[in-house]
């Protein structure tokens, strides 16, 4: 399966198993979603389970919260993460805090799915990676898969989770892994080991990072599309890298990260999002706190530039293999 099919399969499984699961969002019902993630689900489960909504993200999340308080388990699709901002007040002030401020009386198991990231010629309004805006909010989990197998398992766990989850989908990975080189012919998920996705229901635990490649020279902490860029960069440089796919940014699997960096003594952090106050800053601080006496070199960060995501200069903006390689060299040579 590709990632779109895997996500569709996850939602299909959950709609079938749990009558309280409902999907809602712009274009998701009759049309099946602009990225086709919900294709066929309204036909199968009906218009009361898969709701086309008005184009008002604050209203989508606001009503989803009320539905969840009344016993449903809504999964909201925000068509692009770039359009989640009208819903921020509902997410910050209600969704993430209901359980805490009502001392457990009220809670809302809402999952918000949002395609994120660049590499699709989307310009500044279809390419953003806003994860760190949400990891800063206490009370919501933030997840980003990097392949179809993880996408399905993590989405099922997100929907089943009794806490709210923001589920960010790196849209450049929907149809195939992407190593950061736009000039190479696109490849599908067919050949990739994680393109093999069971039809049946399975969950993968939230809050657990995954080791993608094992190595001992340097640790690379990354997630989403950059997982594949980092694998390609390490291979190109011929370095033995312990590449960790963070998978869940909040709550963060500090143990897996610390163990790896304590072993390798070197750390490169890579994400597509802008650098300043990006999630990499939290990762770097965590590594510093947990691994300072093991570090042989300054922690390196590879990230999007601190500019809006440009349309014309996408490949100058996107932190491709060259930027990862440059950072790896600094980390390995100092």
């Amino acid at each position: 399966m590709n990632m779109v099919q895997a996500l569709n399969s996850a939602m299909d499984n959950m709609l079938e198993r749990d009558p309280n699961v409902v999907l809602m969002g712009q274009d998701i019902g009759y049309f099946g979603g602009v990225f086709r993630c919900t294709q066929g689900l309204q036909g199968k489960y009906g218009e009361h389970r898969v709701l086309d909504t008005p184009i008002a993200e604050g209203g989508m999340v606001g009503t989803a919260i009320g539905m969840a308080v009344n016993g449903l388990r809504p999964v909201v699709e925000i068509q692009f993460a770039d359009y989640i901002y009208p819903a921020i007040d509902q997410i910050v002030s209600q969704l993430a805090r209901l359980r805490h401020r009502s001392a457990g009386s009220f809670w809302a198991p809402v999952t918000i799915r949002a395609p994120c990231g660049g590499g699709i010629r989307g310009g500044q309004t279809h390419s953003q990676s806003p994860e760190s805006l949400f990891t800063h909010i206490c009370g919501i989990k933030v997840v980003m898969p990097s392949n179809p197998y993880d996408a399905k398992g993590l989405l099922i766990s997100a929907i089943e989770d009794d806490d709210p989850v923001l589920f960010l989908e790196p849209k450049r990975l929907y149809n195939g892994p992407f190593d950061g080189d736009p000039d190479k012919p696109a490849v599908g998920w067919g050949e990739h080991p994680h393109g093999e996705v069971p039809e049946d229901h399975y969950g993968l635990p939230l809050g657990i990072a995954k080791t993608v490649t094992q190595g001992d020279a340097v640790t690379i902490l990354t997630y989403g599309t950059m997982v594949h860029v980092c694998v390609a960069a390490a291979r190109a440089l011929g370095v033995s890298a312990d590449i960790i796919d963070v998978c869940t940014m909040a709550p963060l699997d500090t143990d897996t990260i610390a163990k790896s960096v304590q072993r390798t003594g070197r750390c490169v952090i890579a994400h597509e999002a802008t650098r300043f106050s990006g999630f990499g800053a939290e990762l770097a601080a965590t590594v510093q706190e947990e691994c300072f006496w093991h570090l042989n070199a300054p922690i390196q960060r590879v990230a999007g530039w601190d500019t809006p995501y440009p349309h014309a200069f996408e490949w100058s903006y996107f932190p491709g293999q060259n930027r990862v390689i440059a950072a790896l060299k600094v980390a390995l040579e100092s």
Partner: protein, 411 residues
């Protein structure tokens, strides 16, 4: 020189030192507004959407089609709960002035809104209040000790010390947790109502927000989703004229009544004298039945006046005449219902005084009981440890670690 645009800057009708001026308030005589069938179309209701529905006439009698025909027992219950609300508010304000609680916010003058509306709804209907709806809790039978403990942030606090005073909730009474953020609960109410319809249940949701809060996007989101899905919900705008110092004209109140905000979306609106217990009850009953029987949402504007300061942090003498409340054309909701009961021969001044003394005595006892659970500074104390609970259902490692650090640094 050609004509050019100039901004319209809304003006409050009167400022400190001025004579109060309520000439802007459009009213209708009691009994004058028709009562449409509950399944009438929005177009059929539109002609009355801006009129002011009133039942209690100047002679204290109940007249017209909106009279809910309540028996004397219900009227006395309504009076009791409104009086409870007012006395509770006054007592808690004093407690704030004495430094016993950090903050308070009264609903004086608006008691009929919450009390009559709660009485017109079923106990299983879900309420999504704003922060000036304490009457909902009394009308639904919440023990005042619970509310006091919340204001004290003590060991009996339903919020475990996590919320500002008055931001209550009451799960057993089907009252949602109150936010400080304005209008944010309105789409939640619509979603709750949508879920009831999805599950084929006949409970409805009701929500409250102020005139000032209608400016927020969430009010418009709520109307839109309620309209699109015909959700079984009643959206109430308590127009008490003032949002702190912001006169309701800054939310567009001088461009047309708030009751008409939904008409373009096909959401019918009713505008009701919010200080007329019977009219509020009758209108709410109508809107609730409409929602419950699948005829869709209603927007209700309750015209009232915020007799007190916005909160204990506010000084209204800086922006409005001190005597405005005395001149408010729609009077005092408690006085009006009392006079109606007196006119019916179902109440006496002696009974009224006895009720007042009884309630004051009850609250005195309740306050002592609440103090037994501690205050912010004295008596039993909540453990600061508890702030790490309920952020998530299960505590993740980083919070357990921070809790450890707190314990270490506080010991």
């Amino acid at each position: 020189m050609g004509r050019r645009s100039r901004l319209h800057i809304p003006q409050a009708p009167a400022r400190p030192g001025d004579r109060p001026d309520f000439s802007y308030l459009e009213t209708s005589p009691a009994g004058a507004v028709a009562r449409p069938n509950i399944d009438a179309t929005c177009q059929e209701i539109e002609p009355i959407s801006a009129a002011l529905i009133r039942v209690l006439g100047d002679d204290d009698s109940a007249v017209g089609p909106w009279n809910p025909q309540l028996g004397p027992e219900d009227l006395r219950t309504g009076l009791r709960h409104m009086l409870m609300t007012r006395i509770f508010d006054e007592r808690m304000l004093r407690m704030q002035r004495q430094g016993k609680i950090s903050f308070y916010l009264k609903s004086t003058g608006e008691e009929a809104v919450s009390v009559a509306q709660a009485m017109a709804l079923r106990p299983s209907d879900m309420l999504f209040p704003s922060y000036r709806n304490q009457g909902l809790f009394f009308a639904r039978g919440c023990n005042p000790v619970e509310l006091m403990c919340q204001c004290l942030s003590n060991t009996g606090d339903m919020c475990k010390g996590r919320q500002l005073p008055v931001l209550y909730h009451w799960k057993e009474g089907n009252i949602f947790t109150i936010a400080g953020n304005l209008a944010i609960q309105a789409p939640n109410a619509v979603g709750w109502a949508m879920a009831a319809a999805i599950k084929d249940e006949d409970n409805i949701a009701a929500t409250w927000l102020g005139d000032g809060s209608t400016a927020e996007a969430d009010f418009h989101n709520a109307l839109l989703f309620a309209s699109v899905y015909q959700a079984p919900v009643v959206i109430n705008v308590t127009n008490n004229q003032w949002a702190i110092s912001t006169f309701q004209a800054f939310a567009g109140g001088d461009r047309g009544p708030f009751s008409t905000r939904g008409l373009g979306l096909g959401v019918p609106g009713l505008r009701v004298d919010g200080n007329d217990f019977l009219a509020v009850h009758g209108v709410t009953q109508w809107a609730a039945e409409r929602a419950r029987t699948g005829a869709g949402p209603t927007l209700v504007e309750l015209v009232t006046y915020r007799a007190s300061a916005h909160s204990t942090s506010d000084d209204p003498s800086r922006y409005r005449p001190d005597s405005e409340w005395d001149d408010w054309p729609l009077g005092d909701p408690i006085e009006r219902l009392k006079k109606h009961l007196l006119a019916l021969g179902e109440w006496s001044e002696r009974q009224h005084h006895a009720l007042q003394s009884e309630l004051e005595e009850n609250f005195k006892t309740a306050w002592q009981e609440a103090l037994g659970f501690g205050t912010l500074t004295q008596g039993p104390q909540l453990s600061p440890d508890s702030m790490f609970d309920d952020v998530f259902k299960e505590m993740p490692p980083h919070l357990a670690k921070q809790r450890q650090l707190l314990r270490k640094t506080e010991s």
